[in-house]
Amino acid sequence: MRTLRPTLIGAALLGAALLGAVVTAAPARAQEETEPSVNWSFSGLFGTFDRAAAQRGFQIYNQVCSNCHSLRQAYYRDLIGIGLSAQQVKDLAASKRFPALTEDGQPTDRPGLPSDHFRDPFPNELAARAANGGGLPPDLSVIVKAREGGPDYVYGILTGFIDAPAGFKLMPGLNYNKYFPGHQIAMPQPLRDATVTYIDGTSNALDQEARDVVTFLTYIANPELEERHRMGVKVVLFLLFLTGLSYAVKRKLWANVHH
């Protein structure tokens, strides 16, 4: 037992040192303004997606963002995960047209299926840039994982459009955004108060719209999140039990050894 104290101190020091290294290793953010910190339904150990918010978010994506942004990694069937029925998903997919070939090899199009990936708004990058004044709307499938700050950052972008401060030289075709690095973004402000009308009567203020679409995009980036959280809780509880058990066995076994 007498060897335990220095060991514990050593372990604590080393642990703290390593942890410190890991924590501070997150690279410095280049942004001048830190994005707002939103209280999301999906954060925390027990977080789940607010289904209604995610569905409203899909409505926004479908009506607004999908004009410019693809969601290439996602399938229409993923919408079942936020509470749409199989029939709704089928109808929705069928309302989109996909390029196909006729039996004699002529180009044509066909209705979409639930197993199709979300359709790209543009046939290629050149077309996307041409339609956006040279800017390229990025694919949004994993956008909340692809930016430091994640959902908070995307929420910040959507709510961060303001008039450029006096003296700021905005390049033609670009817009001022508080949270975008460098502040000049090629995306015109996509959401304002009442851009969409919700059938469930929820407020369509900008703040609500932004929260909803970010909830949807977070679901699309992490469709496994709820299963992961559920499984994680079970695994950790089981391991805690196992730790207790093995520690008890160890204590018993070592009880007669002086070490």
């Binding site: 690279p27 990694q73 990025p138 692809a146 066995v249 007669n256 050894v257 070490h259």
Partner: protein, 421 residues
């Protein structure tokens, strides 16, 4: 020695095997009754944890490879496919990705443990050297693995790191092109990195086998750094340390699980979720956290060749530590001055890690230089000189003796391992 083995095993089938190939007796000898110092603390569990992690990496990696596509136009999407369409693919991938981080945490603790308790000293030099070789191969494996998802950081880290070789005079450029298989990081690079990333873990496995074989010749060191004097100082590995290591593994898995299930992307870099784009350099290229100290050393001097030499030197220097440290006393417990400098080394490594994560401007530059200087000072000057000058504390007569803290044991009364020593 040709001839059948005289096995003590009773079961006829097992005996039949053991007579022809005595692996069962070997396992019993090396992992059953193997005499192990009885005074280990939990730092001695980290070798086992590293072994467990290697097995997890190989198991998850082999299954990931079944769904991964090593082609620049498909790699990123194939990783997303693993996350979304493969059954429990997200679990495999997050376990593999965070497993790499856990691996380095465990191995770094394991190495600092060795440095603190002088485990590299005679007769364990070769054991230590094999460990450093494992560390080198691990770094190569992790670097190439990081390239596979073909995100922005994959591509640009590969570009920056392979370009380091161009600092070598005359042959530098040809070497870099040979590594790339072309004139820039591209599809041939990705293909060979995947091939090597699959191969090297098995090389690691072989090295680990040799590492453990060497350990079983010399026996383990222990927190006192003195050799066991007899059976009263040791315990059979099983059940004492199999059970104690199980406790450590459970705790380790809890930390691992918290990362995988709740913070799977915490240690990663957001930019790696952006598909690789050779035309768009990210504003801030950084390697994975476990390479940051080396990245800081690389940038500590204004010359490219100098930085590369220092960085490789920082790892290679570990090979000769057994000869740099001139002290006859192993454990830092009995080296009051070395003990303090040990912690200075730990702190300077942490500082280097932080510096590596920052842009090389302002205070970070001199800070990185001071920490780098200390790192080399510690090994090249302090270790040889302090070993000669330091007045060490008196060593206990034996492990049991130190534990009991009483007078010397009566001569010839050797306790059996299970008795109270």
């Amino acid at each position: 020695m040709v001839g059948l083995f005289h096995s003590d095993i009773k079961n006829p089938v097992l005996r039949w095997i053991d007579t022809r190939l005595p692996i069962l007796t070997m396992v019993q000898k090396e992992y059953g009754v193997f005499p192990t110092p009885k005074n280990f603390n939990y730092f001695w569990a980290f070798g086992g944890l590293a072994m467990v992690t290697l097995l997890i990496m190989i198991a998850t990696g082999v299954v990931l490879a079944m769904a991964y596509t090593p082609n620049t136009t498909m790699a990123f999407d194939s990783v997303e496919r693993i996350m979304r369409d493969v059954n429990y693919g997200w679990l495999l991938r997050y376990a593999h990705e965070n497993g790499a981080s856990m691996f380095f945490i465990v191995v770094y603790v394991h190495m600092f443990r060795g440095l603190y308790y002088g485990s590299y000293k005679n007769p364990r030099e070769l054991l230590w050297i094999l460990g450093v070789a494992i560390f080198l191969v691990m770094m190569a494996t992790a670097f190439m693995g990081y390239v596979l998802p073909w995100g922005q950081m994959s591509f640009w880290a590969a570009t920056v790191i392979t370009n380091l070789f161009s600092a070598i005079p005359v042959v530098g450029e040809p070497i870099v092109q040979w590594l790339w298989g072309g004139f820039s990081v591209g599809n041939p690079t990705l293909n060979r990195f995947f091939s090597l990333h699959y191969l090297l873990p098995f090389v690691l496995f072989a090295l680990v086998f040799l590492h453990v074989a060497a350990l079983h010749i010399t026996g383990s060191n222990n927190p006192l750094g003195i050799e066991p004097k007899g059976p009263q100082d040791t315990l059979p590995f099983h059940p004492y340390y199999t059970v104690k290591d199980s406790v450590a593994i459970c705790v380790y898995f809890i930390v691992f699980a918290l990362l995988v299930f709740f913070f799977p992307n915490y240690l990663g870099h957001a930019d790696n979720y952006i598909p690789a784009n050779p035309l768009l350099t990210p504003p801030h290229i950084v390697p994975d956290w476990y390479f940051l100290p080396y990245y800081a050393i690389l940038r500590a001097v204004p010359s490219k060749l100098g930085g590369v030499a220092l960085m490789f030197g920082a790892v290679l220097i570990l090979f000769v530590v057994p000869w740099l440290d001139t002290s006859k006393v192993r454990s830092a417990k009995f080296r009051p001055i070395y003990r303090v400098f040990f912690w200075v080394l730990v702190i300077s490594c942490v500082v280097l890690g932080v510096v590596g994560s920052q842009q090389p401007v302002g205070i970070w530059v001199p800070l990185g230089q001071v920490a780098t200087a200390y790192y080399f000072f510690h090994f090249l000057l302090l270790m040889p000189v302090l070993g000669k000058l330091e007045r060490t504390l008196p060593l206990p007569e034996s492990i049991s003796h130190a534990v009991l803290g009483g007078g010397p044991l009566p001569n010839g009364v050797a306790a059996k391992p299970m008795e109270k020593a």
